[in-house]
């Protein structure tokens, strides 16, 4: 729910909060002051009094003081009106007082219109009026000014009447509404000079649309105006565009309203298309912010993990100290069983044996990183802590008998604790023999580590972006696409594996060094800044000019500047995710689809968790960089905004960042299938990829990773990958949908290109054609701006392969048209109708083909399974479009 904004515009330090308690107090004080002023006026105006105070009230300090007292904020609530002028108005004009101070009643309608025409009070009056129920007086006044006396009232009052029209529109009689509409139409169709004053025309257009929004039944009146103005195309175009603007606000009924208007008007194709474009609702559906856990959740998780780790270490000593202190305090006798060194060593041996056994057993069934965690629960850690404490106790040499007894008790209890912990660990392990539980346990116990690795990766990504911009500016330093191997140059290789992240301080010092300053040597860095480079990989080259050579000092400084940061636990996430995905496919091959789905989901969530942490951290770092750049603006004299612009652009986090290794590896593993049986019909692959795609935004480029990982042609399918084109096209559809959701036009174009290649193969053509039309339909909902482009692309495919007359192509156009009509993009629906009409002259046959039993039911199911591309009610959407084709045919 949107709360009405009661605050005045914030320009010029205006602060006015009429609803705030402080505002109420100030208003009361102002009323009191004004009452006193009025009293003084009355008293001083009496002929029998000698008190003459009006000079004081009307003096500059007097009016300023009154204005200051009555202004409800620190400044005047009226824009551009000083305190003195405000004070003057308040003392002399009761209407101003009423508008400013009285929140309950409005002035009489004629006076209200006068006040609305006031340049200072106008905006305030408008805001007040919208909050009140309009009375009949105001309605009649507005109607009179607009229809009967527009010239007598003057431009200011006419403008005010236009602005007040929405408040009274609902209460107007039909005749009055029509008369106003006609008057407004005459004003609205006047041409606008953008370099001149066109307030009346613009306000009339706004009022025209507002009236139509509130009174949809007037659409017919507008189509009559359109029909009467056929000879003047400019006039018709303006009025049609205004009707379109009104229709657009009526989503989701906009499509039907457009169809009705088109049916009644029946213009020529060009005018109809222009009208349709005006009615296009290109605003994508408002995305709801997902309810993500707050940042405290991550901290809480870290604290919990830290406490658990501390407990693992301190459990044994704590138990020993507690029991020992108790025994010492209450002077317990010696226990009947004394634990010796041999017993402690035996306990340790048993524990180690059980531990090795469980880990080995896990390793035979589970991937390495998961086996390590699944085979070693927290109970094992606790047991180790207890057994080591026992050993320490047995090795100790107490000085007194009392202390010796306490130590014996402590050793005994810690040994018992070892047995308990060991039994618990064995039970836990037995529960984790199920791969699904093991995967869940792995993610739960290592999530903090993976998120921490993700946060570090995010910071590296943000810094890599900054370094790329800054390094290119340095003298003699350039960024290449790949390290060149030709010509005279000294190659620099990576001394170890790691993230390539040059040290800017050293790089700057290098560029200021003598050989670089003189232009004798240049450094070319490969594109891999921020990515993992392998040991020995070529990362840069030093290029000397013909007359110079690369000195050893320069080489050493360059090598030191090209720092490599350790990869750390980023690799662990990658190998764990790939391992789990392989395990999921293995389970699926063994027909254990349920467990496979759980394991696959855990793998995808593991990656999603890291990607999310990386994004959070990256955006935080990018915002920090932006703030830092903003601080430096004032100090710069040459081009103040240059660096801030670049930082602001980066802070939007829409440009590609160095790849997240776990995301790429997981997508490739999920696509390649890792030995996945071609016969399997489970949706394991799709469900994993769906999570992976959803966790990836435009910067992480998950959608393009998926499109690239897929085989380019059907012939290029890899062993193990289901060689059916249906799977490939479905995955391409998923990639394109995500690209639309993230408004990634480049990826979408890439997917379209891939689909075109698949289209070359006649065996896959029906699937590709269907997917192409589904993408067109989805674009109407997800990315309306490119919906027209998608329709034209589909039309191009259909024309190129000469399948215009086929039922599949017809259904495709109906899909796109129905989605366009349902989502409120009539221009696309009109284009689709044109394509249908061009290919099928018999519209009854079209109706029969699309709406026959079996076809619409299948389409209904398909739509619901593929993201709801036909809206809430697919059959209705299809039927509406088929009807629309008949209506549009008159204009085509």
């Amino acid at each position: 729910m949107i709360r009405p904004r009661t605050r005045m515009p914030a320009r010029g330090g205006v602060r006015w909060h009429p609803s705030a308690p402080a505002g109420a107090m100030r208003r009361s004080f102002a009323r009191l002051t004004l009452s006193l002023c009025r009293l003084l006026f009355v008293v001083s105006a009496r002929p029998d009094t000698t008190l003459r105070l009006s000079w004081l009230l009307n003096s500059r300090p007097g009016e300023s003081a009154i204005g200051w007292l009555c202004s409800t904020g620190f400044n005047s609530p009226l824009r551009g009106l000083g305190r003195r002028a405000l004070g003057g108005r308040l003392t002399r004009e009761p209407l101003t007082r009423q508008v400013l101070l009285d929140q309950k009643t409005l002035p009489e309608s004629t006076q209200l219109l006068e006040l609305a025409a006031d340049p200072d009070l106008g905006p305030l009056v408008m805001r007040r009026t919208t909050g009140h129920r309009a009375d009949s007086g105001l309605r009649d006044t507005v109607c009179h000014v607009i229809v009967q006396a527009p010239f007598e009232a003057g431009a200011a009052q006419l403008l005010a009447a236009f602005q007040l029209l929405p408040s009274v529109a609902a209460t107007l009689s039909d005749d009055n509404a029509k008369a106003i509409l006609r008057s407004l139409a005459v004003r609205a169709e006047q041409p606008i000079d953008p370099y001149g004053d066109s307030r009346l025309t613009t306000s009339a257009r706004t009022a025209f649309v507002e009236l139509l929004v509130r009174r949809p039944e007037l659409d017919e009146q507008v189509t009559d105006i359109l029909l009467s103005g056929e000879r003047d195309s400019g006039r018709v175009e303006t009025i049609a565009s205004l009707l379109g603007a009104a229709i657009r606000t009526r989503a989701p009924e906009g499509g039907r309203a457009f169809a009705r208007a088109l049916q009644r008007w029946a213009p020529k194709a060009e005018a109809a298309e222009s009208f349709a474009r005006a009615a296009d609702n290109l605003t994508p559906a408002a995305s709801e912010q997902p309810f993500l856990p707050g940042p405290w959740r991550g901290h809480l998780e870290s604290i919990r993990t830290g406490l658990a780790a501390a407990a693992e270490v301190l459990a044994g000593p704590l138990i020993a100290v507690s029991v020992g202190a108790w025994a010492y305090r209450y002077k317990w006798h010696s226990p009947t069983v004394i634990i010796g060194v041999a017993d402690a060593v035996a306990a340790l041996t048993v524990l180690a044996t059980v531990n090795v056994f469980t880990v080995q057993l896990s390793a035979t069934r589970l991937p390495g990183p998961i086996a390590r965690v699944a085979g070693q629960s927290r109970w094992v850690g606790l047991a180790y802590s207890a057994v080591l404490t026992t050993m320490a106790l047995t090795l100790s040499d107490p000085r007194s008998v009392r202390l010796s007894r306490a130590t014996s008790w402590a050793a005994l209890v810690t040994t018992a604790a070892v047995v308990f912990f060991l039994a618990a660990s064995v039970l836990t392990f037995s529960r984790r023999t199920d791969p699904g539980r093991a995967a869940g346990a792995y993610r739960k116990s290592t999530n903090t580590r993976h998120r921490a690795a993700g946060r570090r990766l995010g910071r590296l990504q943000a810094r890599a972006g900054e370094i790329r911009v800054r390094a290119a500016d340095l003298d003699g330093v350039s960024l290449g696409i790949e390290v060149e191997r030709t010509g005279r140059r000294v190659l620099l290789s990576a001394p170890r594996r790691g993230f390539l992240l040059p040290n800017m301080r050293r790089l700057r010092a290098l560029s200021r060094s003598e050989p670089f300053r003189n232009g004798d040597v240049a450094l070319r860095i490969s594109k891999g800044i921020g990515t993992i480079v392998k040991e020995g990989a070529l990362i840069a080259s030093l290029v000397p000019t013909r007359s110079s050579t690369v000195g050893r000092v320069t080489w050493r400084r360059a090598r030191r500047a090209l720092c490599l940061r350790r990869v750390g636990r980023v690799d662990e996430t990658t190998s764990a995710a790939v391992g789990l995905i392989s395990l999921a496919f293995e389970l699926d091959n063994r027909a254990d689809a349920g467990t496979a789905a759980i394991v696959g989901q855990e793998a995808a969530l593991l990656v999603a968790s890291q990607v999310g942490a990386a994004r959070e951290s990256r955006r935080h770092e990018l915002r920090r960089q932006q703030r830092h750049s903003a601080r430096g603006v004032s100090r710069d004299a040459i081009r103040p905004e240059a660096e801030l612009q670049a930082a602001t652009e980066r802070a939007r986090d829409l440009t590609l960042v160095p790849v997240v290794p776990s995301l790429r590896a997981a997508i490739i593993a999920a696509v390649s299938g890792c030995g996945h049986s071609a016969e399997s019909r489970s949706d394991l692959r799709e469900s994993m990829l769906r999570v992976l795609l959803d966790c990836s935004q435009r910067a992480e480029a998950g959608a393009v990773m998926l499109a690239v990982a897929l085989p380019q042609t059907i012939q290029a399918t890899q062993p193990g990958f289901p060689p059916d084109v249906e799977t490939i096209t479905e995955l391409l559809r998923m990639s394109a949908e995500r690209a639309m959701e993230t408004e990634d036009g480049q990826t979408l174009a890439f997917v379209r290109q891939r689909l075109l290649v698949l289209f070359e193969d006649s065996t896959g053509r029906p699937h590709t054609l269907a997917v192409a039309s589904i993408l067109g339909a989805m674009s109407c909902w997800l990315m309306p701006l490119i919906a027209r482009e998608q329709l034209e692309w589909y039309l191009g495919i259909v024309t190129k392969y000469k399948v215009e007359g086929s039922t599949a192509a017809l259904l495709g156009f109906c899909r796109i048209g129905a989605a366009a009509l349902a989502s409120g993009i009539p221009s696309v629906a009109f284009g689709a109708a044109g394509a249908v009409k061009a290919a099928h002259s018999d519209l009854d046959l079209v109706r029969q083909k699309v709406l026959e039993d079996g076809v619409w039911q299948r389409e209904d199911t398909q739509s619901k399974l593929r993201g709801g591309y036909l809206g809430d009610s697919p059959p209705d959407a299809l039927k509406s479009f088929v009807d629309f084709v008949g209506i549009a045919a008159a204009s085509l």
Binding site: L159, Y195, S198, L242, T283, S287, G519, R546, E643
Partner: protein
């Protein structure tokens, strides 16, 4: 094949400072200072511009032809202006500037030779191309064995020895407010009469104005629709297209954004003076004189100038090309019929050569215009027919035909 030179989409402060310092040093090194009596003075002013990807990325700099408000193109007798594209590496900017100076000197030699009696200048285009190529090759050879400082000194010594007085200046900003205002009518003429330029500007204006989408997270669909309606009914897209066109064509676009319900309004760039905290509007035609605070006016720039608040037209590199084409066309249209009517063999030969010259100039300049605009603009969607307000398809007020020397009509 030469290495592809990177185009820096966003330049940092360090980059601006480094390139400004290097170019200022180059100007100081290559200037000859007061020379001996009779030396020909060549004044060159160059500075940074950032075209933001509107022009092709492989264009490293371009000349800005002095022009009067009546469309008269002034030759190089005055000061030569040259814009260096800021979005390239410092090294490339230095090479571009050195190449410009070398080419300028070589062309001066060419002009001296063309002033010999008996030459009509109808093959100057061919000669100029070969002269430029030779100068560029010579500079490349020089830079292969020397650093840029030595190369600049070499050019300076060669200029002095050839009897030229080089007066180089690195300016920031390159053009003043008055110069930019004076050029606006001629640049509007370029927009109106060069279809490729019009198409490029319109495509970008359409992309920028039609691409407006209202978004919101956690906002009701009704509120979004109401905001979107404001875009259309308030003609914000039309106004945006106009301000974009003003910015690209004239260098600066000004759109007054008063508090609602007052509508938007554009001001012609030559009527607006930019001060530190406000915009002074002086429109002599509408007898308008007002001061708009900085927050009440949207100011867009075509190409960004370093060191100043004003922008420069993105059509600047095309002005001279259109001028040459129109001059050659005028020559053929007016003088060739006279020559043919004379009927002598010499006149017919001249007429034939003039027609060939016009064909070459038109073909070559159109190719160059296409190359210059070969950035991302041509890949954009074509502009819709209703991009601008009705009756505003042409930019006005614009000059008549561009011409060298005095206007034939004046």
């Amino acid at each position: 094949m030469a290495d592809p030179e990177p185009y820096l989409q966003h330049v940092s402060r360090a980059h601006v400072e480094a390139s400004a310092a290097a170019l200022a040093e180059l100007a100081a090194l290559a200037s000859t200072g007061p020379s001996r009596k009779g030396a020909q003075l060549i004044r060159l002013r160059f500075g940074h511009l950032d075209h933001g990807g509107f022009l092709t990325n492989v264009r490293h700099g371009f000349a800005i032809m002095p022009v009067t408000p009546h469309g008269q193109l002034l030759g190089i007798e005055g000061e030569i202006l040259y814009a260096i594209v800021l979005n390239h590496t410092v090294d490339l900017q230095l090479r571009t500037t050195l190449s410009l100076i070398a080419s300028l000197l070589a062309r001066q030699d060419m002009v001296r030779a063309a002033r010999v009696p008996g030459t009509d200048g109808l093959d100057l285009d061919i000669t100029a191309t070969s002269v430029d190529q030779r100068a560029a090759v010579a500079l490349q050879d020089s830079l292969r064995v020397k650093n840029w400082r030595d190369a600049a000194l070499e050019i300076q010594q060669r200029a002095a020895a050839s009897g030229y007085q080089l007066d180089l200046q690195f300016a920031s900003p390159l053009l003043s407010q008055e110069e930019i205002s004076q050029r606006a009518p001629a640049l509007r003429h370029v927009y109106n009469h060069l279809p490729l330029a019009r198409d490029a500007v319109d495509r970008v204006a359409a992309m920028m104005s039609r691409g407006f989408v209202v978004r919101g997270e956690g906002v009701s669909a009704e509120a979004l629709a109401a905001s979107a309606a404001l875009l259309d009914v308030g003609d914000i897209r039309h106004y945006t297209a106009h301000i974009m066109r003003d910015a690209f064509v004239c260098g600066n676009g000004y759109l007054a954004v008063p508090p609602p319900p007052n509508p938007l309004r554009l001001y012609r760039p030559e009527h607006v003076e930019v001060t530190s905290d406000s915009f002074r509007v002086r429109d002599p035609v509408a007898n308008l004189r007002l001061e708009v605070p900085a927050s009440g006016m949207l100011h867009l720039r075509g190409m960004n100038q370093v060191g100043g608040p004003l922008g420069v037209s993105t059509l600047e590199p095309l002005l001279i090309l259109l001028g040459q084409m129109e001059q050659a066309h005028y020559n053929v249209e007016h003088n060739v019929p006279i020559a043919l009517a004379t009927g002598t063999e010499q006149a017919r030969t001249w007429a034939q050569r003039a027609q060939d010259f016009e064909r070459r100039i038109v073909a070559e300049n159109e190719r160059e215009v296409r190359d210059i605009l070969g950035g991302g603009t041509l890949s954009l969607q074509p502009a819709p027919p209703d991009l601008y307000f009705p009756g505003q398809a042409d930019a006005s007020p614009a000059t008549g035909r561009l011409h060298f020397g005095e206007s034939p009509r004046s």
